[in-house]
C-alpha cells in the first residue's frame, strides 16, 4: 500500500488538483508549439523579416522615379537537391532607381529525360528591403512543369518602392529551385499551376 493512500482526503484532492492543472499547462504548451508555426509566418509577413516576399502578384504603384539614387539588385539562382533542372538568369545584376519598374528574364531547363515539376522559392536580403520589393509578375508565384529536355523562359517584373530605407543600396534576390513531387503537393499548397507549354 503506498503512502498516499494513507494520506488524508484533503491532501489527496489537493494533489489531484495540482496534477490536473499541470496536465492542462502541458497540453496548452504542446498546442502552443504548433500554434507558433502559423504565428511565425504571420509575424514574418507583417515585419517582412526572414526575406519571405509576397507569394502573389502586387500592383505596380505609380510613383515618381527617384533618380537621385541607384540601387543594385543582384540575382542568384540555386538548385535545391533532387531536381534535374538548370536555372539561369539573363543578367546577374542590374541598377535601378527606386520607383522604376524593371524586367529580368530567367530560364529553366529540364536536363533529364522525364517530365518533372519544380518551384523556385525566393528570398530577399537584407530583410529590411523585403517589404519594399514589389513583384508584379513572377514565375515564383507558380509551379512549373517541364517536359524532358524542355527550356522555358519566364520573366520577373518588379519595382523597388520609393520608401526603400535610405541605407539600403543593394538588394539580393535568391531563387532556390525545389522539386514538387506530385500533383497532390500542388493542390495542398493551393498554388496555381502554370504549365510550360501554355506560355
Amino acid at each position: 500500500m503506498s503512502r498516499i493512500e494513507m494520506g488524508n482526503d484533503d491532501q489527496r484532492s489537493a494533489i489531484r488538483r495540482t496534477v490536473w492543472r499541470s496536465v492542462a499547462a502541458l497540453v496548452g504548451m504542446f498546442a502552443f508549439a504548433f500554434a507558433l508555426v502559423p504565428l511565425y509566418d504571420v509575424f514574418c509577413e507583417v515585419t517582412g523579416i526572414n526575406g519571405k516576399v509576397e507569394t502573389s502578384a502586387q500592383a505596380l504603384v505609380n510613383e515618381e522615379i527617384d533618380d537621385s539614387r541607384y540601387v543594385t539588385v543582384q540575382f542568384i539562382t540555386r538548385n535545391g537537391s533532387g531536381l534535374p533542372w538548370r536555372m539561369d538568369v539573363e543578367t546577374r545584376q542590374i541598377r535601378v532607381h527606386p520607383g522604376q519598374s524593371a524586367e529580368v528574364n530567367f530560364t529553366f531547363n529540364n536536363q533529364s529525360d522525364g517530365v518533372s515539376w519544380g518551384r523556385a522559392v525566393p528570398s530577399v536580403s537584407p530583410s529590411s528591403a523585403t517589404r519594399h520589393l514589389r513583384k508584379v509578375s513572377c514565375f515564383c508565384f507558380d509551379e512549373q512543369r517541364l517536359e524532358a529536355g524542355e527550356r522555358l523562359e519566364l520573366p520577373l517584373v518588379f519595382q523597388l518602392a520609393r520608401d526603400l530605407p535610405e541605407e539600403v543600396n543593394s538588394v539580393t534576390l535568391v531563387y532556390t529551385l525545389y522539386p514538387v513531387e506530385t500533383r497532390k503537393a500542388q493542390l495542398q499548397a493551393g498554388a496555381k499551376v502554370l504549365e510550360g507549354d501554355e506560355v
Binding site: S2, R3, L26, L36, K52, G80, R119
Partner: protein, 544 residues
C-alpha cells in the same frame, strides 16, 4: 588546507537507534529484481535514477573520449568522419538527457520528501513508471548506433533539414526515444510539483523551504513549459520525414529557421533546467561548511525565479548568425545580458556566505567551491557570447564548446557530485572515504581545466566545432584538451570507488552528519530508513 574531521554528534543519534515505523504497517517488499522493478519508494527510486545516471555518464564519457582521441592530432587517424559525427551527437544527447537530468531527478526523489518532511512523493506509482521509461528510451537511442546508416549524426541540437531531409533512417527511432525520455521528465516534474505544493510538514511555509526544494519547484515549472515544445518540434520532424509535411522544408513553404526558433525556445530553458537544481545543492552545502546561515535566502529565491522567467526571452542568442533583424538582435543581446544580473546575485550571495565563515574543506565543500569559481568562468564566456557582433566571430567555434562545458561540467556535474558527497552519509550511514574523495576532486579539477580551458583559445583562433580534423595551428591546444579529457575521464573511476566503498562500509555517520547542516533530512537517522516521516514532523523555524 587540512580537512577537518566531521563533527561528532552531541546527541544520542546513532544510526541504528531509530528504524522506527519500519515495522508492521508495511508488507514485506518483493525480493530480488522484482523489488526494484516494482518499487514505489522514493528512496529506492532515487537510487535507481542515480545509478542509471552514473552508468550513462560513463557511456557518454566513452563517446567523448572517442572524439578526443580522434582530435588528439590533426589528420584522420582512428575513426571515419561519419562515425565522429555520431559520437559528438550521442555524447551530447546522452549527457544532457540521460546523465545530468536524471541525476538531478534522482537527487530530487531522494531528498525533496526528506527536506519537506513528507513520507514519500505525491504519486509513488507514477514515479516508478517515470523512472522505468528512461532505460527504455536510452536503450532505444543507443541501439541506433548499430542500425543501417548509423545513429543520429546531426549534433545534439538536431537542426532541420540536417535531421530530416539528410538524416539517417534511424532518426525515427531517435525521435521515439526522445519522446519517451521527455514523457519521463514531464511525469517526474508533475510529481515533484504535486509533492512540494501539497505535502510539506505542518508549519513549513514556502519561504521556509530549503533552496534545493525551491530550485527544483521552479525547474519543474520550466520542464512543464518547455518539454511539450520539444515534443512538438520532434513531432513536426517526424511528420516531415514520414508524412510528407514541410514544417521545416522550404520547398513546401516551410522554414528551417523556424526549427531553430522552436528548438531554442525549448533549448535555452533546458540549459537552466540543468543548472537551477545545482544552485540549490550549492546553496545547501556552502552554509553548512562555512558554518554561517546562507546570505540572502529570499534574494536567492527571487533570483532563481527571475532567471527562470528571463530564460524564455533569450533563446535567439543561439541564432545571431541566422540573419535576425537588428531590433531582434539587440533585444536578445540585452535580455541575455540581463540574465547575468540574477546569476550575479547568486554568486554574490555564496561569496558573502563564505566571508568570515569558519570554513572547512570536506569533499562536498571542495566541489561546491570549485563550482562557484568555475561556473562563474562559464558565465563570463557566456557574456562574451551574448555580445552579438562578437558572436558572429565566436559562433560555432570551440569557444562555445568551452563556454557550455564550463557551465555544465564543473557547473552541473560538480554540483551533482557535491550533492552526492554531501548526502552519502544520509543514504548509506557512512562517510565517504576522505582521501580518495580528495584525489577524485583534485584530479577532476585539473582534468576539467586542462580539457576545457585551451578550447577558449582554439575557439578564439577560429577552430570550428563538430569537425573531425583541424588545421595544424590548433594542434597544441587539442593535444592538451585530449590529455585533460582522459585524465578527467579516468579519475571518475575514483568516484565510483568512493561510492561503492561508502555503501559497503566506512566511518559511521550520525543522523546529523554535518554539524551545521540545518534541513529536515538531518533529523532522520543515517542511513535513512526506508520509511520516514510517516507522521509528519512539526517544522521548527531556525532561530537566526
Amino acid at each position: 588546507m587540512a580537512p577537518k574531521v566531521p563533527p561528532q554528534p552531541s546527541l544520542e543519534q546513532s544510526s541504528t537507534a531509530t528504524a522506527a515505523g519500519h515495522g508492521l504497517a508495511h508488507a514485506a517488499p518483493p525480493k530480488g529484481i522484482l523489488r526494484w522493478l516494482l518499487t514505489t519508494n522514493h528512496k529506492e527510486i532515487g537510487s535507481l535514477y542515480l545509478i542509471f545516471s552514473l552508468i550513462m555518464f560513463f557511456i557518454g564519457g566513452i563517446f567523448a573520449l572517442v572524439v578526443r582521441a580522434e582530435l588528439y592530432q590533426p589528420g584522420m587517424q582512428l575513426i571515419q568522419p561519419e562515425f565522429f559525427n555520431q559520437m559528438t551527437t550521442m555524447h551530447g544527447l546522452i549527457m544532457v538527457f540521460a546523465a545530468v537530468m536524471p541525476a538531478f531527478t534522482g537527487l530530487a526523489n531522494w531528498m525533496i520528501p526528506l527536506q519537506i518532511g513528507a513520507p514519500d512523493m505525491a504519486l509513488p506509482r507514477l514515479n516508478n513508471f517515470s523512472f522505468w521509461l528512461l532505460p527504455v528510451a536510452f536503450i532505444l537511442l543507443l541501439s541506433t548506433l548499430f542500425m543501417p546508416g548509423g545513429g543520429p549524426n546531426f549534433g545534439w541540437t538536431f537542426y532541420a533539414p540536417l535531421s530530416t531531409t539528410y538524416a539517417p533512417p534511424s532518426t525515427t527511432i531517435f525521435i521515439l526515444s526522445l519522446h519517451i525520455a521527455g514523457i519521463s521528465s514531464i511525469l517526474g516534474a508533475i510529481n515533484i510539483i504535486a509533492t512540494i505544493l501539497n505535502m510539506r510538514a505542518p508549519g513549513m511555509r514556502m519561504m521556509d523551504m530549503p533552496l534545493f526544494v525551491w530550485t527544483w519547484l521552479i525547474t519543474s515549472f520550466l520542464l512543464i513549459a518547455v518539454m511539450p515544445v520539444l515534443a512538438g518540434v520532434i513531432t513536426m520532424m517526424l511528420m516531415d520525414i514520414n508524412f510528407g509535411t514541410s514544417f521545416f522544408d522550404a520547398a513546401g513553404g516551410g522554414d528551417p529557421v523556424l526549427f531553430q526558433h522552436l528548438f531554442w525556445f525549448f533549448g535555452h530553458p533546458e540549459v537552466y533546467i540543468m543548472i537551477l537544481p545545482a544552485f540549490g545543492i550549492v546553496s545547501a552545502i556552502i552554509p553548512t561548511f562555512a558554518r554561517k546561515p546562507l546570505f540572502g535566502y529570499a534574494s536567492m529565491v527571487y533570483a532563481t525565479a527571475s532567471i527562470a522567467i528571463l530564460s524564455f526571452l533569450v533563446w535567439a542568442h543561439h541564432m545571431f548568425v541566422v540573419g535576425l533583424p537588428l531590433a531582434a538582435t539587440l533585444f536578445f543581446m540585452y535580455t541575455t545580458m540581463l540574465i547575468a544580473v540574477p546569476t550575479g546575485v547568486k554568486v554574490f550571495n555564496w561569496i558573502t556566505t563564505l566571508f568570515r565563515g569558519s570554513i572547512s574543506f570536506e569533499p562536498p565543500m571542495l566541489f561546491a567551491l570549485a563550482f562557484v569559481v568555475l561556473f562563474t568562468i562559464g558565465g563570463f564566456s557566456g557574456l562574451m557570447l551574448a555580445i552579438a557582433p562578437a558572436d558572429f566571430q565566436y559562433h560555432d567555434t570551440y569557444f562555445v564548446v568551452a563556454h557550455f562545458h564550463y557551465v555544465l561540467v564543473p557547473g552541473a556535474v560538480f554540483a551533482i557530485m557535491a550533492g552526492v558527497y554531501y548526502w552519502l552519509p544520509k543514504w548509506t550511514g557512512h562517510y565517504p572515504h576522505e582521501r580518495l574523495a580528495q584525489w577524485h576532486f583534485w584530479l577532476s579539477v585539473i582534468g576539467v581545466n586542462l580539457t576545457f580551458f585551451p578550447m577558449h583559445f582554439s575557439g578564439l583562433a577560429g577552430m570550428p566545432r563538430r569537425i573531425p580534423d583541424y588545421a595544424l595551428q590548433f594542434a597544441d591546444f587539442n593535444l592538451v584538451s585530449s590529455l585533460g579529457a582522459f585524465l578527467f575521464g579516468f579519475s571518475q573511476l575514483l568516484f565510483v570507488a568512493v561510492v561503492i566503498l561508502c555503501v559497503r562500509g566506512g566511518r559511521k555517520a550520525p543522523a546529523q552528519a554535518w554539524d551545521y547542516a540545518e534541513d529536515l533530512e538531518w533529523t532522520v537517522p543515517s542511513p535513512a530508513p526506508l520509511h520516514t516521516f510517516e507522521t509528519p514532523p512539526t517544522y521548527q523555524r531556525p532561530a537566526h
